[in-house]
């Protein structure tokens, strides 16, 4: 696959919203590609990036030099375009009309990976040589790779389906084979066609099943949102067909008890260092089983505050003191393998009962069965959902009892049904340009609430507004810039947005003393002035019970 073909593919994928067209475009390109270029393309499709090794400042300088403009002018262009690679590609003068015939793999290995470990002079020479061989599309692609910003916006499911079709295996089989990671080499690409040696995959988790969101007003985060009540309600049928569990606010993980015993996260990493007690306890399980569940911290009878969990997740090496105050728990809710065999195709009802039997022998204080909640009606379940936060959980999980474990595939058999978000009205005090369709628009907002006659920032948010609203707010903000700090614009407080978030926690890093989790914009409050925004006190009143002490803003 040449660079030009890859650029055509990327452009083609961007130009169509149809999943089937994207899949067939991808399949055709992967099928026709040389193994090494296909491996790289697939690696990018899985969402990997090559870290940037050339400082942005130097890239700007080198391009400024070629374009005969000042680096400050390049920065102005960047502010406007929003995307650095695109800006630089538009500025480069005298690019050839067409890219010369270069394989994608050569561009990536010589023109991007090859920059690592080179001196600045060598880097500048390498880049300059590529700018003589690539057309504008090619230079854009190259610069996206060099700046570490290259991303193909293709859903993982489509990427896997297309790659599976190109190499002639089932998509679910390919999903299993790449679950522990994929290395972009020609050999690894060819090896995807063959079953792996079981010993090599002993530390490899199974593809995680994901849940759709019910009734969450956040189109960016949850495209599959559907309300359970009201005119647009989806019909879930009888409540008896569902397994209902608490939605834990912990870390999703698979506990692998095979030749290796590991706690595998949904990313391509392991949580063994953060939760050594769970891994230790797992050694008490019989060999040949894999449990799906949630790792979290427990204090007395409820989950510990999320901040405690965050401290653990940051752990690089064993720190005994940190682990004594609260203890880790793995709430198991599914069984993927037992006695060395894959049981993912069995219905949930069967997997659940085998899980219950298995855990009857586990150490109950560390590896626990996630409780099954029973309700007679959906309304009763809804009432429990609404009060979920009082019990330290995020809401409910709904899972169809008659369905297999559908790792990495469509939604519909698992739903998360979160407690209603908390909301406040906050004021935009700073903004910077967004990316993608928000490029060049001041649309990443820093939001503040009132406190003692001033405004203190409490959140950053960008998702949730319509394109027209984003453009209208951009115009207002650009007309009221009072200061510039790099890409950041300090603006006169004018725009009030209603933001929703899942919870408030104490934060030493934020000047306000609190931080909100998963902030997203609900709507633009054109009817409100900054004086009518919420005050810090109303945010503090939403702190978790055991966190409310000591949340004092830094002065």
């Amino acid at each position: 696959m040449s660079v030009a073909e890859f650029a055509t593919l990327v452009r083609g994928l961007a130009a169509t919203a149809s999943s089937s067209q994207r899949a067939s475009l991808l399949e055709a390109h992967l099928r026709a590609a040389d193994d090494l270029s296909a491996a790289w393309a697939f690696w990018f499709l899985l969402g990997h990036r090559i870290p940037r090794t050339v400082p942005v400042r130097l890239l700007r300088e080198w391009v400024a030099e070629r374009a005969e403009v000042s680096p400050e002018l390049v920065a102005s262009c960047h502010d406007h375009v929003g995307d650095l690679a695109e800006t630089l590609s538009l500025l480069l003068p005298d690019l050839p009309e067409e890219s010369s015939d270069v394989a994608l793999a050569e561009l990536v290995e010589a023109g991007v990976s090859g920059l690592a470990g080179s001196s600045r002079e060598q880097q500048q020479r390498i880049l300059a040589s590529w700018w003589q061989r690539l057309d504008r599309d090619g230079a854009f692609l190259h610069l996206k790779l060099v700046t570490g910003g290259f991303r193909i916006g293709v859903a993982r499911g489509i990427a896997l389906r297309s790659a599976a079709a190109a190499i002639g295996v089932e998509a679910s089989v390919l999903e299993d084979r790449v679950c522990g990671g994929f290395t972009p080499t020609a050999a690894a690409w060819r090896a995807l066609r063959e079953p792996p040696n079981p010993d090599e995959v002993a530390a490899q988790p199974r593809p995680f099943q994901l849940a759709g969101g019910l009734g969450i007003a956040d189109p960016d985060l949850e495209p599959a949102d559907a309300p359970l009540f009201g005119p647009d309600a989806i019909d879930l049928g009888s409540i008896d067909e569902w397994l209902i569990e608490p939605k834990w606010d912990g870390v999703r993980a698979q506990l692998l008890r095979r030749r290796e015993t590991r706690l595998a996260s949904r990313g391509e990493g392991y949580l063994d260092r953060s939760f050594p007690e769970i891994v230790d306890a797992a050694r008490g399980l019989p060999l040949g089983c894999v449990l799906d569940g949630e790792a979290l911290l427990w204090s007395e009878d409820r989950p510990a505050p999320f901040t405690a969990l965050q401290r653990r997740l940051g752990v690089r090496r064993h720190q005994p003191g940190l682990f004594d105050a609260v203890h880790a728990v793995f709430f198991a809710f599914d069984l993927l393998e037992i006695d060395g065999s894959d049981v993912r195709n069995a219905p949930l009802s069967e997997r659940r009962s085998r899980l219950e039997t298995l855990l009857a022998s586990a150490r109950p204080d560390v590896i626990r069965l996630s409780p099954r909640l029973r309700f007679d009606t959906w309304e009763a379940a809804d009432a429990a959902r609404r009060s979920a936060r009082d019990r330290g959980v995020e809401g409910l999980m709904l899972k169809r009892l008659d369905r297999p474990y559908e790792g990495g595939r469509g939604r519909g058999s698992w739903w998360k049904w979160k407690a209603d978000p908390r909301t406040i009205d906050a004021v935009v005090v700073q903004a910077q340009s967004g990316h993608g369709r928000r490029a060049g628009l001041l649309s990443d907002y820093t939001l503040a609430v009132r406190h003692q006659g001033a405004l203190v920032p409490v959140a950053k948010a960008y998702s949730g507004l319509s394109d027209a609203e984003i453009v209208a707010i951009d115009r207002i903000l650009k007309g009221s810039v009072v200061d510039r700090r790099g890409p950041l614009r300090v603006v006169e407080p004018q725009v009030v947005l209603e933001i929703a978030f899942d919870r408030v926690q104490r934060s030493a890093r934020h000047r306000s003393g609190v931080a909100v989790r998963f902030p997203r914009i609900l709507r633009w409050r054109r009817d409100k002035t900054p004086e009518e925004a919420d005050c810090l006190e109303s945010l503090r009143s939403m702190l978790e019970p055991d966190e409310s002490g000591g949340a004092v803003p830094r002065s």
């Binding site: 262009c77 695109e86 369709r437 490029a439 060049g440 628009l441 453009v471």
Partner: protein
């Protein structure tokens, strides 16, 4: 001449000539206006009298029905108070003019909007030597370098043919004044039928009345939508393409013709299937060329990317300032992203503030 009052000042109503007692493209009602061209942000309603280029008379009448419009042929000098005024082609749209104002041997030129690229529907930009030049800077960033207009028109026509082959309407979002006529002029008989939105019709008629040759067009009404389903090219202003009106043209591919289409984010935001980089404004190299050609000793830049362009010109040794006007506000011709305003209030400032002591 260090101590004299400037020939043009920025008053609360707009650019003001105290010696001739007229405003140029004012944004509040005044008795005497000289108008560079008929786009809504330059030709606002409510002026006592409008002096316009004779070639733009029909267009101005279509845009400002009932107004008192006084035509002046390009290049012809008239005396207003103590100054001599003449209008010169700006190459932006039919009848667009640069305003030359001469007072006691000192020449100031207000560019209005302009482009240097060839356009068969209007007279080409003419560089006017002057002491002071007040220039637009809509696309005043070095990323804006227009592709060859013929290539872009060829791409547009290829898209139009592809749509017909696929049985879809080719709906092109385009400004009603200037861009629409420029695109029409590039179409050939094989590109027919062409349906046009009602907002374009009086302006197309004005161009024809002035003698600009344009291919035949049909109203974009329901009857024609049905009669030419899946094979017509449809021209409509951006507001119509974003609204319910567009639904009668289904299935359709949506194209946008605008200089902003050079940037991916803008294309994505417009939600179009195809973007064509066709602009009636000067791109970066042409702004530099036009400013240099005036041989001016100082330039004031307004609307668009005034500050970055001014900084660049200063680095090349030219005296360059920015002026905050209301050009570009809420205009069909400037529907790009918001641009951070030049520092200063709208109106009430000197155009060249770092003038030496009086």
């Amino acid at each position: 001449m260090a101590s004299r009052r400037p020939t043009l000042e920025l008053s609360p109503a707009g650019l003001w000539c105290p010696f001739g007692e007229f405003h140029i493209d004012p944004w509040s009602p005044v008795p005497q206006a000289i108008v560079t061209h008929a786009h809504a942000d330059h030709a606002r309603p409510g002026m006592g009298n409008y002096l316009v280029a004779a070639e733009g008379e029909w267009v101005a009448k279509a845009r400002l029905p009932g107004a008192s419009i006084q035509p002046l042929p390009y290049g012809e000098r008239i005396r207003l108070g103590d100054v001599e005024v003449s209008l010169h082609p700006a190459g932006h749209v039919l009848g667009s003019a640069q305003i030359r104002v001469e007072h006691r041997g000192e020449v100031w030129v207000v560019s209005g909007d302009y482009k240097l690229a060839a356009d068969p529907t209007c007279r080409a930009f003419e560089a006017i030597r002057c002491h002071r030049f007040i220039s637009e800077s809509t696309f005043g960033l070095p990323i804006y370098r227009w592709p060859n207009p013929q290539d872009e028109m060829a791409r547009l026509r290829a898209w139009r043919r592809r749509c017909r082959d696929e049985g879809r309407f080719a709906v092109l979002s385009t400004y009603a004044l200037g861009k629409a006529q420029r695109i029409l002029a590039a179409m050939e008989s094989e590109d027919l039928p062409i349906l046009v939105h009602g907002a374009l019709e009086p302006l197309i008629a004005a161009y024809r009345a002035h003698g600009v040759a344009l291919p035949p067009t049909l109203p974009a009404d329901r009857a024609n939508a049905t009669a030419h389903r899946g094979r017509a090219l449809v021209l409509a202003p951006p507001s119509a393409v974003g609204g319910a009106w567009i639904r009668r043209f289904t299935p359709a591919s949506i194209g946008v013709a605008s200089g902003w289409m050079l940037v991916r984010g803008m294309r994505r935001r417009r939600g179009c299937d195809e973007g064509f980089v066709v602009s009636d404004h000067a791109d970066w190299p042409d702004l530099l060329t036009a400013i240099a050609a005036t041989e001016c000793e100082a330039v004031a830049l307004t609307h668009g990317f005034a500050a970055p362009l001014a900084a660049h010109l200063r680095s090349k040794g030219l005296r360059a300032t920015t002026v905050r006007t209301r050009f570009g506000d809420e205009s069909e011709d400037h529907d790009g992203p918001g641009v951070e305003a030049a520092v200063g209030s709208v109106g009430g400032d000197e155009l060249f503030p770092s003038e030496g002591p009086a």
